[in-house]
């Protein structure tokens, strides 16, 4: 049923190139989910998130110091290996330091006709961030208009906002189905759904989502759900890992990570000034740790998710060396523990030792089911 999402995810480059040929439009590769995709969509550009390929590589060492996360190096490797040669532009909205190196090295060594560094504010909890970002988005829009040679009007923005909001609503609807005792979607399928949304035209993705939601209404769940897990963390598109965990007698029912709900959780709320409306969405969205200060907003949100999705346990993962998550994880795990939700902590690399991780996951699941006996 989720085959289309998987097909898109696995053949991302074919998809983008076919889109280019079909529409004659430009493709923009982006490095962080704070990129205001609505503006790009409004300009007729296809935004595609640059992700890694989970293969060991030897090409990034001269460009990025090995102590930075494996994900940013994997992303740059894709460019250096020529897999993204079809991109017309690249951009980043600043968040963490690591991924920005993939962008700046790409800018120098793999130049595209357009590149943009958006100074997305970090102090999203300050009222000053909104007027600031609105101003930055105005400059960004102008740059995009110059690049594409056409104006980006309010009407264009309205249309883009609606398509994106619909995509978010539809994915919410799919996630809502996972609240029940017999979730009809596995974590693996949900991951394919969300990742594929980051690399396809949202209108197309919406069509597929609607079709799936229709079919899901009839899809029962013959799977034994097992332990209801939540996965929390950094960038994560390691489908092999999700698959392994779900084969051990567990189901991921919800997540809070960069390639999951953090991407689509918040809609654009309407405002007269469309750019301000878009800015508000990115400021108010579930934050990346780099922007979650001075209050920790991720924690109440995570606890709420855990409660609504009736989570038994959590897997807290991060890319190796990811400082922002390392700064949040002790507090998150403590907060979960206080709510009676135990967590397993794992560090990810480009490839993961599935066998060794399985041992740990099995032990964790045993521990979770052991607790049930004493409730």
């Amino acid at each position: 049923m989720f085959g289309q999402f998987r097909q898109w995810e696995q053949n991302r480059h074919d998809y983008a190139q076919a889109w280019k040929e079909r529409t004659g439009g430009k493709v923009m590769g982006y490095f962080c989910t704070y990129v205001p995709e609505e503006i790009l969509h409004a300009a007729g550009v296809l935004p595609v998130r640059i992700l890694g390929s989970h293969e060991p590589q030897d090409v990034t060492e001269p460009h990025i110091f090995g102590m930075f996360c494996p994900f940013c190096r994997d992303c740059l490797a894709q460019g250096l290996k020529g897999r993204y040669d079809y991109l017309d532009g690249i951009m980043i909205a600043q968040s963490c330091l690591h991924i920005r190196q993939a962008f700046t090295s790409w800018q120098k060594h793999l130049p595209t006709e357009f590149s943009y560094y958006l100074c997305m504010p970090h102090h999203v909890q300050s009222p000053r961030a909104l007027p600031y970002l609105t101003g930055e988005l105005a400059d960004f829009r102008t740059a995009v208009e110059e690049w594409t040679g056409k104006a980006v009007t309010d009407a264009n923005l309205d249309e883009a906002i609606e398509v994106y909001n619909e995509n978010r609503r539809l994915m919410h609807a799919a996630y809502d189905l996972r609240k029940g005792d017999a979730p009809p979607i596995t974590g693996e399928e949900a991951m394919e759904m969300v990742i594929s949304s980051q690399m396809t035209d949202k209108a197309e993705h919406n069509q597929e989502l609607k079709r799936i939601l229709g079919e899901l209404a009839d899809r029962g769940n013959s799977r034994d759900v097992g332990a209801r897990l939540m996965i929390i963390g950094s960038e994560d598109d390691d489908i092999e890992f999700i698959n392994m965990v779900e084969s051990c007698g567990a189901t991921f029912v919800v997540d809070e990570h960069c390639t999951g709900t953090r991407y689509f959780w918040n809609e654009v709320q309407p405002r007269e000034d469309r750019l301000e409306a878009i800015a508000a969405r990115y400021i108010d969205r579930v934050p990346c740790p780099t922007k979650d200060w001075m209050d920790r907003k991720r924690i109440p949100h995570i606890l709420e998710l855990a409660e609504e999705w009736k989570v038994d346990g959590a897997i807290v993962m991060q890319q190796k060396f990811c400082d922002p998550h390392e700064l949040d994880n002790p507090a998150i795990r403590e907060a979960l523990h206080e709510q009676g939700i135990e967590s397993l902590f794992l560090e990810f690399d480009v490839t993961v030792p599935v066998g060794q991780f399985q041992t740990r996951v099995e032990a964790f699941l045993e521990m979770l089911s052991g607790e049930d006996l004493f409730d």
Binding site: F68, Q107, H123, S126, P131, W293, E326, L327
Partner: protein, 452 residues
């Protein structure tokens, strides 16, 4: 080991004064409450001029220099790092943070007694860790009011009113906030004076670094660390600005009299990122080869403020006062302060390493360098970001580069012996031998001298 004496050397006359200023800084912070004063904690890049408006008895502790001081005390540092690890924090986090948190967790102040709790936190967010450093401090010690200003608005070349408004807006909010949490009334004249001092101090530091263009270099980097640190503690203070004026005069005199930092200078290098603080004797090892590190973008451009002069050379930034600007009110003071700081050279590479490469190439040319030593510093992501591209850029620019891995604040990640091996190999490629083995200057070093 007999050192060839080519130049005269002598210690700095104002050295003891520098030590005294630094010592008093840390003691004043600890004793602040005794005389009814207040104290705050924040990073070295924070807008330290702003809390000055709360009175003349406001003291601070600057987190990175404090942590670097811990790192120089390897025994205490190890205890701090281990305490932080026991509390569940990852080993690859910024080593300054880990030393600092450890000092808190152990409740031991480096200069004796318990760790003096700040009345408030006044921070700015430059790297991924900066704001969150103090977020964790509040996890560890709840109840300390904290405020952090986001300065990530882009490189100096792209400053516009929208960006300045964002910074100034946060600063204004911060002032109202600090009035609330301290119960004090803010005095704008004190802010204006502090901004003035900061511009003067940071411009003077750049002037001092410029004097190191001379051959022989009057200062070497290890010494410079102990002098530049005063700017990281109190760049806003009259004490530091006056001291830098005094230091500048003394260094000028050294240049006029060809007084050198090392007596056998025949190879000029620069380093990059913070040094491994527990192993500064690495610089003495360089001296065995007649090699001197004359500075770095880190030493020059974290506290120093610069501009390109009409003759296209790098020099100290002209202060607003020197340009005839008289700051009249709070808003103007804040705007001047924001713009001044956004021009900080060490800030630019956060947006693109290639901006930093340009600055490093400029230093390499104008300071007549023979080579570069890059510290691939696992302890600081902020300053190491993009360093691999800097290396490529410097090589492309024709400069020999050596790299050595280490950690500014975690001695377990620095191997002095291995680093010596790399230095030996690098010196070999530059054609240099240690003094006791007899030396001929390499073609490159000779060329460097001829050019100045």
């Amino acid at each position: 080991m007999a050192t060839k004496q080519i130049y005269e050397t002598k210690p700095l006359a104002c050295w003891n004064r520098a030590k005294e200023i630094r010592k008093n800084y840390y003691l004043d912070y600890a004793k602040a409450h005794e005389s009814g004063g207040i104290r705050w904690a924040g990073g070295a890049w924070t807008f330290s001029a702003i809390p000055c408006g709360l009175g003349d008895d406001v003291y601070s502790i600057s987190s990175e220099p404090y942590a670097a001081s811990i790192a120089a005390n390897r025994e205490f540092s190890t205890r701090c790092l281990e305490a932080t690890e026991r509390a569940g924090y990852a080993r690859d986090l910024c080593s300054y943070m880990r030393n600092y948190w450890g000092s808190l967790i152990l409740d031991e102040y480096l200069w004796g007694g318990p760790f003096p709790r700040p009345d408030f936190i006044w921070q700015d967010h430059i790297c991924c860790s900066h704001a969150k450093w103090y977020q964790v401090v509040c996890d560890l010690e709840p109840g300390i009011p904290n405020f952090c200003i986001d300065v990530a608005v882009g490189p100096a070349g792209e400053i516009n009113d929208n960006k300045l408004d964002y910074l100034v807006g946060q600063m204004q909010d911060g002032i109202e906030w600090m009035e609330e949490v301290t119960g004090r009334t803010y005095e704008d004249e004190k802010l204006i004076e502090a901004v003035d001092n900061e511009c003067r101090a940071t411009s003077l530091w750049a002037e001092i670094c410029c004097l190191n263009k001379a051959v022989p270099a009057p200062l070497e980097e290890k010494t410079m660390y102990s002098l530049y640190v005063l700017g990281t503690l109190m760049k806003h203070s009259k004490v530091v600005a006056d001291f830098y004026a005094e230091l500048r005069d003394e260094v000028r005199e050294r240049v006029e009299n060809q007084i050198a930092a090392i007596p056998n200078e025949r190879c000029r290098l620069m380093s990059d990122t913070q040094p491994p603080w527990g192993f500064l004797n690495l610089f003495r090892y360089l001296a065995d080869y007649g090699a001197v590190s004359v500075g770095s973008l880190y030493t020059f451009g974290l506290i120093g403020m610069w501009e390109v002069k009409p003759d296209d050379t790098w020099g100290p930034r002209t202060t607003p006062r020197e340009r005839g600007i008289e700051i009249k009110d709070r808003n103007q003071a804040l705007r001047v302060l924001a713009e001044w700081n956004l021009n900080k050279p060490q800030w630019q590479h956060f947006y693109s390493p290639h901006l930093k490469t340009d600055l490093m190439l400029r230093i390499a040319k104008e300071w007549s360098l023979d080579g570069v030593m890059l510290h691939y510093n696992r302890g600081c992501e902020g300053l190491s970001v993009g360093i691999a591209e800097n290396r490529l850029g410097l090589i492309e620019g024709g400069f020999p580069v050596m790299t050595f891995e280490g950690n500014m604040g975690d001695e377990r990640e620095f191997d002095l012996a291995r680093t010596h091996v790399r230095v030996d190999t690098f010196m070999e490629t530059l054609g240099l031998k240690k003094d006791d083995a007899g030396s001929e200057p390499s073609e490159q070093t000779h060329r460097a001298r001829v050019c100045t």
